[in-house]
């Protein structure tokens, strides 16, 4: 992968092929938006805003990508994120400590990962059912904690929350003549670290390759000597942990807890993974692709809004259309490949 555009000896693997398509589409779409719509798209801050707003989505999508590569699904991630946000907000408002609140976030995520992973891997219950139950459970818990929105009122946390990386030279001059520097929130850094970490895990670590083997063909993975149950267990633990991190990042972005936080996030995460080239059937996918999947999804939404279609349903409709388009594209591309192989 040192030189992805240079001459390769081998044709791209399915994973690489789908990821390349996603990145290509993202770049083309963004350039089109810049030339046709101009406005915000011409400023670097547009990209940073997209990252700031979606840091937690990127993180849960990474977790979901791992699970989906392994041939599973986890739809509890959004609800767990929401539960983490509410728990941490209440804990901080009751005089908690920021460091402990991070541990709390990780703990809640881990707990969900452990329980769901155990049920799915060792008791062999359908992942969809288990995580659906997890989703309802986490949503219910969030509402029990507080029906009303809760704002964080905590000095130390406010400091962490407001920490931003400011890049003046990437800024732009606003209409009133002031220079608005580019701002990146701390959560984005966390998200990028997660992406990098999962990328290394999936590409260079034995556990990561075992996820692919398991998703490619479970029986084969077993015959090849992989401990499939344990591997699957780990995939859900990772997804849970990332939901925990996502919750904390979400709180850093919004600074408040609300029972409806991160509603529908699991579906956006699934969409990001699929657009990023992860196959629902397992064995194919990559977090870099997922990252661009999230960005593509967000860009589409921004384009819709910039085009003056402000009603929320337009975003849903375009997301739906986009998803169909990508799934169709994937099946056409992979179908052509397998045909070529046979001839």
């Amino acid at each position: 992968m040192k030189n992805p555009f240079g001459k390769r000896k081998e044709p791209l693997t399915d994973t690489q092929l789908l990821m390349t398509i996603t990145i290509g589409i993202f770049v083309v779409m963004y350039i089109l938006a810049m030339t046709l719509l101009g406005g915000g798209f011409l400023h670097a801050q547009q990209i940073f805003d997209m990252l700031n707003d979606n840091a937690s989505l990127i993180i849960v999508s990474c977790g979901l990508t791992i699970v989906m590569i392994g041939g599973g699904i986890d739809i509890s991630v959004g609800a767990v994120t929401s539960l983490v946000v509410m728990s941490c907000v209440l804990y901080l408002n009751n005089g908690g400590n920021v460091f402990v609140s991070i541990l709390l976030a990780l703990g809640i995520g881990l707990a969900f990962g452990l329980v769901q992973g155990f049920l799915i891997s060792y008791l062999e219950i359908q992942p969809f059912i288990v995580t659906l139950a997890g989703m309802f459970f986490a949503r219910g818990m969030t509402t029990i904690l507080s029906v009303n929105p809760q704002k964080v009122d905590h000095a130390a946390f406010a400091k962490v929350r407001d920490t931003q990386i400011v890049i003046p030279w990437l800024g732009y001059t606003a209409k009133n003549g002031n220079l608005v520097p580019a701002r990146i929130e701390l959560g984005v850094i966390v998200a990028l670290i997660c992406v990098a970490f999962i990328f290394v895990l999936l590409k260079y670590l034995r556990l990561g390759r075992n996820f692919y083997a398991m998703g490619g063909n479970q029986t084969s993975a077993l015959m090849l000597g992989i401990n499939v149950k344990r591997t699957r267990f780990f995939s859900y633990i990772l997804s849970g942990l990332l939901s925990g991190i996502s919750g904390f990042v979400f709180m850093m972005h919004t600074g408040a807890g609300n029972a409806t936080n991160a509603a529908g996030m699991e579906m956006n995460a699934i969409a990001s993974s699929i657009i990023g080239g992860t196959l629902l059937t397992g064995g194919v996918g990559n977090v870099i692709g997922t990252f661009f999947g999230t960005m593509t999804l967000t860009t589409i939404k921004k384009i819709v809004v910039s085009s003056g279609l402000n009603d929320p349903w337009w975003q849903s409709i375009t997301t739906g259309g986009m998803l169909c388009f990508f799934i169709l594209l994937q099946s056409v591309v992979l179908g052509r490949r397998s045909k070529k192989k046979k001839s």
């Binding site: 000896k9 081998e10 044709p11 693997t13 399915d14 994973t15 260079y204 670590l205 034995r206 556990l207 390759r209 075992n210 692919y212 083997a213 998703g215 490619g216 063909n217 029986t219 084969s220 993975a221 015959m223 090849l224 000597g225 992989i226 064995g283 194919v284 490949r337 397998s338 192989k341």
Partner: protein, 499 residues
């Protein structure tokens, strides 16, 4: 050939509830030999392989590897001891690279050493002459190469005993030759290969020895040059040739001269090679051959059960298109599938519901059969076929095998077919019911229904069919009628070749 004994299995017993799957079976594999393991359905060869690879635990007997007594606890354990299996369905991951498939699951350490792996994989592949590159995605390789990669993995794991379970079923001739070259190469390196296949030609092409099993018992072990094909077939089927010739003559069947009802020319499907076939009104004919010879695939093509690729079909002299089961049904063809549990009964539904199923499908869903009609039909056939069931509302799953089969027969009889295809209708059912079904077939034929009958038991076919189509290695190799309808002739035709 070296004579050093590599693997010895002695007096292996394996019991399953109600069945003795292996009864004191001996098997010996020497270093550097290719040893074919042969047997028909239920002979116990796959059970024996599973005992050897640790999938099943033996109930008695001893296994020794290179003179040491061993007990094999799991497939993993078998691999560690140097016993590797390559299955017909490739047990590798198509989404990973060739190198990964060769090394995954058998390395320690958290980090993978990609470069090192790829170098090593290329060395092994090169050494064995396998046309694959380590960095290729496995799914991009042909099935034959994928199989060879699986073998390469086994070889690199220091396998001493290599089990190839039906490795050639999905390969074409060229690929089979590539695989054979690899097998001979491994043999010269001292690996003992157990070759499980149902292709006679291939057995004689590469094997050094043949062990034949039948009904869970050892028939014998023979050097390949001392076992002519006809004898191999007769041993697999459990009939001695000498015994056969003295066996009483069957009543000679008249050749039917009615109009041709069904005629196919060059019919082929995704599973079946092109073949010609015809049947006359009121005729009972049959496809015979060893397991895997293509007999079931051929009748499935007639019924349109697999994807039909080509050929012309004439029914009652008119050219028609039969590509789906519903087409066949509309033209009066009924098909009783080989695997009644999977393709036949719907276990949770009652006897009544199972019986009216085909008729309802043919009528279409907007012309429901009234409840009282359904009950009348069910009662009629329960009586006619003597189906032993508590009531017509009993779930079919709780009936005995023979009675389940009768229910499916009733389902087809209710549609008043002109042509009925029965694939192994008597498998796994008691002798009494077998006779009843045979009688029923003959009675139907008298009434003018044409029947194609398939059975693993040649005698049963000789009793019912007036014409036998013989298949070998997926091709029709002969047609027997009149005087030629006897066991000796059937076996000679199945065996074919010079022997």
């Amino acid at each position: 050939m070296q004579e050093e004994i590599l693997l010895q299995m002695k007096g292996i017993d394996k019991k399953f509830p109600g069945v003795l799957a292996l009864n004191g079976v001996d098997f010996t594999l020497r270093k550097g030999e290719i040893h074919a393991l042969m047997g028909e359905n239920g002979a116990g060869k796959s059970t024996l392989i599973k005992v050897l690879t640790g999938v099943y635990q033996k109930d008695g007997g001893e296994i020794s590897l290179e003179g040491q007594n061993v007990s094999i606890k799991s497939p993993q354990d078998a691999q560690n001891k140097g016993i590797s299996t390559v299955y017909q369905e490739i047990t590798l991951c198509p989404n990973l690279t060739v190198a990964e498939n060769m090394f995954i699951g058998r390395e320690n350490g958290s980090w993978i050493k990609r470069k090192e792996r790829e170098k090593r994989a290329d060395e092994i592949l090169g050494g064995l002459g396998i046309p694959a590159r380590s960095t290729q995605q496995l799914g991009d390789c042909s099935l034959a190469v994928q199989q060879m990669v699986a073998i390469a993995r086994a070889v690199d794991m220091n396998c001493k005993v290599l089990i190839l379970d039906e490795p050639t079923s999905s390969l074409d001739d060229k690929e089979v030759n590539m695989l054979f070259d690899l097998m001979r190469d491994l043999k010269s390196k001292g690996v003992g290969i157990i070759f499980v296949t149902h292709f006679l030609e291939q057995v004689y092409e590469v094997s050094d020895r043949i062990t034949v099993l039948r009904n869970g018992e050892l028939v014998g072990e023979y050097p390949v040059e001392k076992l002519p094909r006809v004898e191999l077939v007769s041993k697999m089927m459990g009939k001695d040739l000498d015994e056969l010739s003295t066996l009483g003559e069957h009543e000679e069947k008249k050749t039917i001269v009615n109009d041709v009802l069904y005629e196919a020319e060059g019919l082929s499907s995704s599973e079946a090679q092109p073949f010609d076939f015809s049947i006359r009104r009121g005729e009972v004919n049959g496809f015979t051959g060893l397991l895997g010879s293509g007999r079931s695939e051929s009748v499935r093509a007639i019924f349109g059960a697999d994807k039909v690729n080509g050929g012309t079909v004439k029914i009652k002299g008119e050219q028609v298109k039969v590509t789906k089961p519903i087409d066949a049904m509309k033209h009066g063809i009924g098909y009783l599938a080989e695997d009644r549990k999977r393709d036949g009964i719907i276990a949770e539904l009652s006897v009544r519901e199972n019986i009216i199923l085909a008729l309802q499908v043919m009528n279409g869903m907007f012309k429901p059969i009234s409840r009282s009609e359904q009950e009348a039909f069910a009662d009629e056939y329960i009586k006619v076929l003597n189906i032993k069931t508590a009531s017509r509302e009993t779930p079919v799953g709780s009936l005995s095998g023979g009675n389940q089969q009768k229910v499916i027969l009733a389902r087809w009889l209710l549609t008043h077919p002109d042509y009925l295809i029965l694939d192994e209708p008597t498998r796994g059912i008691d002798v009494g019911t077998k006779l009843e079904i045979q009688k029923l077939v003959l009675k139907l034929a008298e009434e003018g229904v044409s029947v194609t009958f398939i059975s693993s038991e040649v005698e049963e076919m000789l009793r019912t069919c007036s014409r036998l189509i013989v298949m070998r290695d997926r091709r029709i190799v002969g047609e027997l009628k009149g005087k030629d309808l006897n066991q000796t002739q059937v076996m000679k035709t199945i065996a074919g070749g010079e022997a």
